[in-house]
């Protein structure tokens, strides 16, 4: 079969797969960005040793363990402690001063995956003396990843590798102060975990659950198509207090979204915006 025809067939099968997953498990990937979704599905097929999308659908519907692996494949993007160190610097420079004025601070980290970036924010707040009056709500659609994040245990070698990021992000102390080493693992100290609240939440299917002073949703919406992005922006806007801050990934934007006019830029390069309307 010509590659073009093969792809047309694959498109039909993919639509059926997404519909099947939604009906069986309630996860809605139907409005995910097609190019990256296709790559992830094909990778999944390879790992499961299957040669058609239909075969993957078959397995997904009948084998929940396979579905868990599929969900993981669609959940993870690259993450690290203080990933994009400049973002944390910008957060310190433009957002922290706003938070100092508040009696308490509620932050939503949407799409937290395995939690590294949440712990990074916790460390930043700690060093700025804001942690005790803050609560970070960290959510993700994947409960396996959430559990990992909640435990706060990471490979020691990997953690040590993050020291450089911590310094470049403006870290004022010693990164190793924040964790204890046990055998090959690094465990975040309990005092860093007390104000972190982990919960399952799906940006596509779930509603707003609170109002926040800060919402971070970084490099999550790149996996959504434009229509879904607009719906999620609606959700985020609704969950943000007036004068609240929204943080996106460095190559994401509010441009051409329905809420573009309701925000002003705090940092145009690191995509920090404040709600003004």
């Amino acid at each position: 079969m010509q590659p073009a025809n093969k792809r047309e067939l694959e498109s039909i099968e993919t639509q059926l797969l997404l519909e099947g997953v939604y009906q069986r498990y309630g996860y809605d990937f139907r409005d995910y960005a097609p190019a990256s979704l296709k790559r992830r599905i094909r990778l999944c097929m390879q790992k499961e040793n299957l040669s058609t999308v239909s075969a993957l659908l078959d397995k997904l519907l009948h084998d929940p363990a396979c579905m868990e692996r599929f969900l993981l494949a669609l959940s993870i993007g690259v993450t690290a402690m203080f990933r994009d160190p400049e973002f944390y610097r910008a957060f310190c420079a433009t957002v922290v001063p706003l938070l100092r004025a508040l009696p308490f601070v509620r932050i939503w980290h949407a799409g937290c995956a395995s939690g590294e970036e949440v712990y990074s924010l916790a460390i930043l707040l700690h060093e700025e003396g804001l942690y005790d009056k803050a609560k970070i709500y960290a959510t993700d659609m994947n409960e396996v990843l959430l559990q990992q994040a909640r435990e706060g245990i990471f490979p020691l070698k990997t953690m040590q590798g993050y020291t450089d990021n911590y310094i470049r992000a403006g870290g004022k102390r010693s990164f190793s102060e924040y964790y204890t080493a046990r055998y090959e693992n690094a465990l975040f100290r309990p005092n860093l975990k007390t104000n972190l609240i982990w919960a399952a939440h799906n940006l596509v299917t779930d509603a707003s659950f609170n109002e926040f002073h800060v919402i971070l949703c970084r490099n999550v919406m790149i996996y959504f198509n434009k229509a879904l992005q607009d719906r999620v922006h609606h959700l985020l806007y609704d969950s943000l207090m007036p004068q609240g801050v929204l943080g996106l990934g460095s190559k994401e934007s509010l441009k051409f979204t329905p809420y573009e006019d309701r925000f002003e830029e705090l940092d145009g390069r690191e995509k920090l915006y404040r709600r003004i309307k």
């Binding site: 190019a35 990256s36 790559r39 690259v78 790149i222 994401e252 934007s253």
Partner: protein, 175 residues
């Protein structure tokens, strides 16, 4: 035939050739160009600024869902994969492909599916395997595939005889 898009891929060793290729494009060049160049995670504005010196065309790093327009050279941002989706760019932060992010394979494969015969894919030699599969995809969908003659690469480790997994109609010498 009117081409929709030119995609260029380069790993370490391809920078000079990239400047030469971009420099050869005239001011009114009608086809958008997208480049996946292997680059350091933290590499900032410097690369785009450097390339701007080689060309009158507009050099930018696209944002997610940005429209692909003629007169532009789009440079894949550091630590993201750049994909083509219809007439827009899309980004991802998926795993490294052939140890690279941005990956040439990812750009080329998505562009091949989106543009098919309307695609020109060019590989500039570098140190890395990333791009071989991408170029195969370009050809498979009817696009035009080209690769730099690896003996002219600027990185000594990349100078080697042309390798069989780059199935091109033409192998070009860049000055």
């Amino acid at each position: 035939m009117g081409y929709e898009l030119v995609v260029i891929g380069a790993s370490k060793g391809g920078m000079r050739a990239l400047q030469v290729v971009l420099g050869a494009l005239p001011a009114g060049f009608p086809t958008p160009v997208a480049v996946a160049l292997h680059r350091e995670k933290g590499s900032g504005e410097g690369l785009a600024a450097l390339l701007r010196k080689s060309t009158p065309l507009v050099v930018t790093e696209p944002e997610d869902k940005e429209a692909i327009r003629p007169g532009h050279i789009y440079l894949a941002p550091p630590d993201y994969h750049l994909l083509v989706e219809g007439t827009y760019f899309a980004l991802s932060i998926d795993e490294l492909v052939e140890y690279a992010r941005p990956s040439v394979n990812v750009l080329f494969e998505s562009a091949a599916e989106a543009c098919r015969k309307g695609l020109i894919g060019v590989i500039l030699t570098g140190e890395n395997q990333d791009g071989a599969r991408g170029l195969v995809a370009v050809k498979a969908y009817g696009g035009l595939a080209a690769a730099q003659d690896p003996t002219t690469s600027e990185a000594p480790s990349c100078r080697r005889p042309p390798s069989p997994q780059f199935p091109t109609r033409r192998s070009c010498r860049w000055r």
